[in-house]
């Protein structure tokens, strides 16, 4: 069985270490917050200007002045803080955020990422994605391995407009875990029930299977 969205998020949550500052994008990345191991503490950064995103508020706690970058109402954890958007991107640019998890439409085997625009369709804008990918130290992409038509999203080079160059470090898809290396996508883990042949068939970019490849542990 390939991984579902929650399982992709759960696998990514294992990349988190105690004391990390983390920025989660919209979509599958947001789900990662639900799987933070209980024995570690992390702090979530939201680019609209807060550190320490807490759980959704109760009805009584809802505050229109307290939202995350996805414009959802949230709460603030003990020890959190608020700041303006310039400082928020300042800390991102300065490399203070330890891990950034993003969704993507395409990732190239050199770490290029495309996730903001499909020509000919309504363009919504890049939001903070270009800033994040240009500066973050450790970018992990969470996405489906193929698009709805079955085409690989792990490519030799991106066909869609680029968001950032050579920036992705790791990709977690429904089929497995892939590190970006000079040799291309290095498959280190495969989803339960998914064969290496299937991964090979569905990966268009350069692919190397690790000697130590193993099943994803959730």
């Amino acid at each position: 069985m390939a991984l579902d969205k929650n399982q992709i998020a759960k696998r990514i949550s294992r990349e988190l270490k105690d004391g990390m500052y983390v920025n989660l994008g919209i979509g599958i990345p947001t789900l990662v917050a639900n799987f933070v191991p209980e024995d570690i503490e992390i702090e979530l950064q939201s680019e609209n200007g807060m550190l320490g995103i807490g759980p959704f508020p109760t009805e009584e706690e809802v505050d229109a002045d307290l939202i995350n970058a996805g414009k959802q109402t949230v709460t603030l954890r003990t020890g959190g803080s608020y700041f303006d958007s310039a400082l928020s991107f300042g800390m991102i640019r300065a490399g203070k955020v330890d891990i950034t998890v993003l969704g993507a439409m395409e990732v190239a085997d050199n770490g290029d990422i495309a996730n903001w625009k499909v020509p000919g369709k309504m363009v919504k804008g890049m939001g903070g994605a270009m800033d994040l990918v240009a500066s973050a130290k450790n970018i992990i992409v969470a996405m489906q391995h193929t698009d709805k038509a079955g085409n690989s999203k792990l490519l030799p080079e991106c066909t869609l407009p680029i968001t950032g160059l050579k920036c992705v470090k790791k990709v977690v898809t429904d089929l497995g875990v892939f590190e970006i290396t000079p040799e291309g996508f290095l498959c280190t883990e495969y989803a339960p029930g998914v064969t290496i042949d299937e991964i090979k068939a569905k990966t268009a970019g350069r692919l190397v299977i690790s000697d130590q490849v193993k099943e994803v542990q959730l």
Partner: protein, 233 residues
């Protein structure tokens, strides 16, 4: 006389804004937008405005209201995805749009506030955002040269302000508001609570009054929520 920046209301605050003005408008989504001033601009009916704002509102709130009344010539924004009328005007060519990475957008405002003519940012290097822009290399990494914004006005919403124009913002409603409040040639601020100078703790001022030209007590805030997400107890 002296340092009293107070005007009576939104109508008075925006009364000299003319057609074709370039305006920074604070807020992130609908969070912290200057609701009273938007209403006053609609009432005033000024046209061909250029807005520098992270988002373009929704169909029936925020900048979306001024799209409906066809007052907007150009939007400079980072994310505009919540608005059907926006999409219609964009596709029909009635509306000009410049998309700017969010960090670049706010830092170009910051540059104006801090007196820098331009910034160097890695955001957008190698993308279509970089087209036609100067690239500088520092210590082996490429950066785009992005110029400070020049806006005729900035219009923002603060939580508390005093008669001298000192401002304090609430939670994530600070977002673009505090930076933009410092970045326009004329800075207009509406506040939820206006107090006499001396009543705000000077240690906790987010924007000092030197940047602010007009301030007024706002009223009837709707504070609409885009994504109301809650948990049970």
């Amino acid at each position: 006389m002296g340092f009293n920046k107070v005007v009576a209301n939104a109508e008075e605050a925006v009364q000299d804004i003319r057609d074709n003005a370039v305006i920074m408008l604070g807020g992130f989504g609908l969070c912290g937008i200057p609701e009273n001033s938007i209403t006053a601009l609609i009432k005033k009916g000024v046209k061909d405005l250029t807005f520098i704002s992270n988002n373009a509102g929704v169909d029936d709130f925020g900048i979306g209201l001024m799209l409906k009344t066809r007052q907007v010539k150009k939007m400079i924004a980072s994310y505009v995805g919540e608005n059907a009328e926006f999409e219609r005007q964009l596709l029909s060519g009635e509306l000009e749009v410049e998309l700017v990475p969010q960090g670049t957008l706010v830092t170009r405002c910051m540059a104006a506030a801090y007196g820098f003519p331009a910034i160097f940012t890695p955001a957008g290097v190698g993308t279509e955002v970089a087209e036609g822009k100067e690239v500088r290399n520092f210590k082996g990494k490429d950066y785009l040269v992005e110029e400070a914004f020049e806006a005729d006005y900035s219009i923002v919403k603060a939580w508390k302000g005093d008669t001298a124009g000192n401002l304090i913002f609430n939670k994530t409603a600070r977002n673009f508001n505090s930076v933009m409040a410092m970045a326009g040639k004329i800075s207009i601020v509406e506040v939820e609570e206006l107090v006499p100078a001396g009543q705000l703790d000077p240690n906790f001022i987010h924007v000092p009054g030197i940047y602010v030209h007009r301030i007024f007590q706002g009223s009837n805030y709707e504070k609409r929520i885009e994504q109301r997400t809650v948990r049970s107890k």
